[in-house]
């Protein structure tokens, strides 16, 4: 992972001092709430239903063990002993006090962590593949470029007061695990004539008006990454709508102008700057790359005796579910499910964070990732350690073998915490998880992404769930709209609404009927839920969902 140097550290120190001063000026009345709000948001501080919420940035989802311990410390010292991992690979603390936030920020800064640009109308944390640097599938480690973008976008003087928030995602693998097509800018590394560069997509996004991003450039040579992004951002900053908050995202600008015209303007702007100071030379790239610690992988055989000798059926089930191949022999990528049956999706206690940090140090070269599915990942574990690791994780309650299955639910915090939410989402997630808790049944159902958002802002990414639930409120009662067939991967597609919203009390039954319909109609167990929906269309599902009882 990237290790801060003296310049990165100086910047972070100065940011803490600046924020402490801003909080003091707010508390003394020198700053009005209206003036203070954008400043606190740019440091990740929201005011939610019950308290302030701090969103800490986890750059491209990568954490070191000491950083995870620093998060545990903040949970203990300033919050209520837990944190919530988000769909953008960050973490949120729900119970923080404004007057204590500068101290919390200072403690985080010691570990190279911060809340900078995790909210506000600025360039947010760049997200990427949680398997980056570990998967055999990738062309190049996308985190190097995500770090280049982090540095360029941090406290950018021109782009800190944009029309609206701006999210960038990047993938280095053909199989997209970063949902690049539903970001303001999506970047995909690919090869053309032996040279590696980016496909640039613009104007994707979920929320109130979901769009799939449009490719505005098939191939951008790598050295032009920043100048091209600056051209996009400048075109957006000057031309994005500011008259209506719901129309201020770049996706609306691209849609209203047309992707071709948008692309033409970006290219024209870029022609002026492409060979300027932002051009990435080999030396700069080598310098950034050199500050990423790459584990010194042991030379180990695949499928060692320590692994194959372990025949506990529970272990075998977990291994089949939570482990994927690593680029190095004898190693594996391990997903730690933060979705135990009946628990709030994505939450971890301070004790769990500390313990996982210890395990990462002992068995995983000290590295941890956060996935946008709200799970943790140990990207580099030795296969021979898997049985021991499994027992330790199981004791922590984070070894449920449900990764990618129906109970691996992605959910926003909903009305239990969030000031924007219309309905709760966690209780629905919990009840679905309980209904499908039988592990055999989950395995039988197979791959199924179920996403829940408690309002139209779509933080639970319901549009790209195979089954998506969107909470709507009618006369103070909770209802859920159901979409089917959404996908967030390289073939991103938005789900289709199957019909009228169903009452909160019925939603679990309806989800079960949808799943049962799939099981009844699939051609074979090899046909996944999403494949069956694509083959059959939504009609048979709709019929069973609304069948009179």
């Amino acid at each position: 992972m990237y290790v801060y140097d003296e310049f990165d550290r100086s910047f972070l120190q100065e940011r803490v001092v600046e924020f402490r001063d801003q909080v003091a000026r707010r508390l003394s009345g020198e700053l009005t709430e209206d003036e203070f709000k954008p400043l606190r948001l740019m440091n990740g501080v929201y005011l939610q239903l019950h308290a302030y919420m701090l969103r800490v940035c986890i750059p491209y989802g990568t954490l070191s063990a000491p950083q995870l311990r620093a998060l545990a410390h903040v949970a203990r010292r300033y919050d209520r002993n837990y944190g919530h991992f988000t769909t953008r690979q960050n973490i949120q603390f729900n119970w923080i006090k404004l007057e204590e936030l500068p101290d919390a920020m200072a403690d985080l800064a010691k570990a190279g962590l911060h809340g900078i640009q995790t909210s506000g109308n600025c360039i947010r944390n760049t997200t990427t593949d949680p398997w980056a640097g570990a998967t055999p599938e990738e062309l190049e480690d996308p985190r190097i470029y995500a770090e280049v973008i982090r540095q360029w976008s941090t406290n950018h003087p021109e782009f800190t007061y944009l029309p609206r928030k701006f999210k960038i995602a990047i993938t280095g693998a053909q199989r997209d695990r970063a949902a690049v097509r539903v970001h303001d800018v999506g970047l995909r590394l690919h090869k053309r004539d032996g040279e590696i560069g980016f496909e640039v997509m613009v104007g994707g996004g979920l929320g109130r008006t979901p769009y799939i991003g449009k490719t505005i450039r098939e191939f951008l040579p790598k050295e032009h990454l920043l100048s091209y992004l600056e051209a996009i951002l400048r075109t957006y900053n000057l031309g994005g709508r500011r008259d209506n908050i719901y129309k201020a995202r770049i996706k609306i600008q691209v849609h209203e102008m047309g992707a071709e015209e948008f692309s033409r303007r970006v290219e024209r702007e870029w022609e002026e700057t492409r060979d300027g100071a932002l051009k990435l030379d080999d030396e700069t790239m080598a310098d950034i790359r050199s500050r990423f610690i790459t584990p010194d992988f042991e030379k180990l055989p695949d499928n060692p005796l320590e692994l194959t000798i372990e025949q506990d059926p529970a272990f075998l089930r977990w291994k089949a579910n939570s482990i994927v191949p690593h680029k190095e022999p004898g190693h594996a990528i391990l997903t730690i499910s933060l979705k135990p049956v009946g628990a709030p999706p994505g939450d971890a206690t301070a004790d769990q964070m500390d313990a996982i940090a210890d395990l990462a140090e002992r068995y995983g070269y000290g590295e941890i990732r956060v996935s946008h599915e709200q799970n943790l990942i140990l990207p580099h574990v030795r296969q021979k350690d898997l049985p021991t690791l499994w027992r330790a994780l199981d004791a922590l309650g984070v070894a449920t073998p449900n990764v990618g299955l129906v109970t691996d639910i992605i959910s926003c915090p909903g009305l239990d915490y969030c000031a924007l939410a219309n309905t709760r989402s966690i209780p629905v997630a919990q009840r679905i998880s309980e209904r499908f808790s039988d592990l055999e049944r989950q395995k039988e159902i197979g791959l199924l992404h179920l996403n829940i958002s408690g309002c139209i802002n779509a933080c639970g990414h319901h549009h790209v769930g195979h089954i998506g639930l969107l909470g709507v409120e009618k006369k103070d009662e909770e209802f859920f709209q159901i979409t089917l067939g959404g996908k967030g991967n390289s073939k991103a597609r938005l789900g289709s609404l199957i019909g009228p919203a169903v009452a909160e009390s019925e939603v679990v039954d309806v989800v079960e009927r949808l799943v049962d319909t799939y099981l009844a109609l699939r051609t074979s167990p090899q046909e996944s839920f999403i494949a069956a929906v694509e083959r059959l269309g939504i009609d048979p599902f709709k019929e069973s969902a609304y069948a009179p009882r």
Binding site: E33, Q48, L49, H50, R80, Y82, P344, D351
Partner: protein
């Protein structure tokens, strides 16, 4: 100072004014004496739009103690007890409806 927009406030029953306290974000309600309270039962209840607007004026005139003030429906029980009128306000009053943190791990 009251904007003409605020003067259009419609209320559908007994209403209180609520906000979050600046220094720690906790939920507070406005009392009749203009002081913020952590207890809903102490809140001043307005029964007409004008009464609620007067409370809002007091709340919004000074954001040094509490921020984001808005009117919230309440219900008055037969015993005179003031309880939140919506799910959102029930959650703000009593906390999340789900267990969290170590309470989850323990269950």
């Amino acid at each position: 100072m009251t904007s003409p927009l605020q003067r259009k406030l419609k209320i559908t029953g007994p209403t209180v004014v609520t906000a979050n306290r600046l220094r720690d974000g906790i939920v507070v309600w406005l009392k009749a004496d203009g002081v913020w309270s952590e207890d809903l039962p102490e809140a001043a209840v307005g029964n007409t739009a004008d009464e609620v607007l007067d409370l809002l004026d007091i709340a919004q005139a000074d954001e040094s103690i509490a921020v984001g003030a808005y009117p919230a429906r309440v219900n008055i029980g037969e015993d005179g007890a003031v309880v939140p009128g919506t799910l959102r306000e029930r959650i703000r009053c009593s906390g999340p409806t789900v267990a969290y943190g170590e309470a989850v791990a323990a269950s």
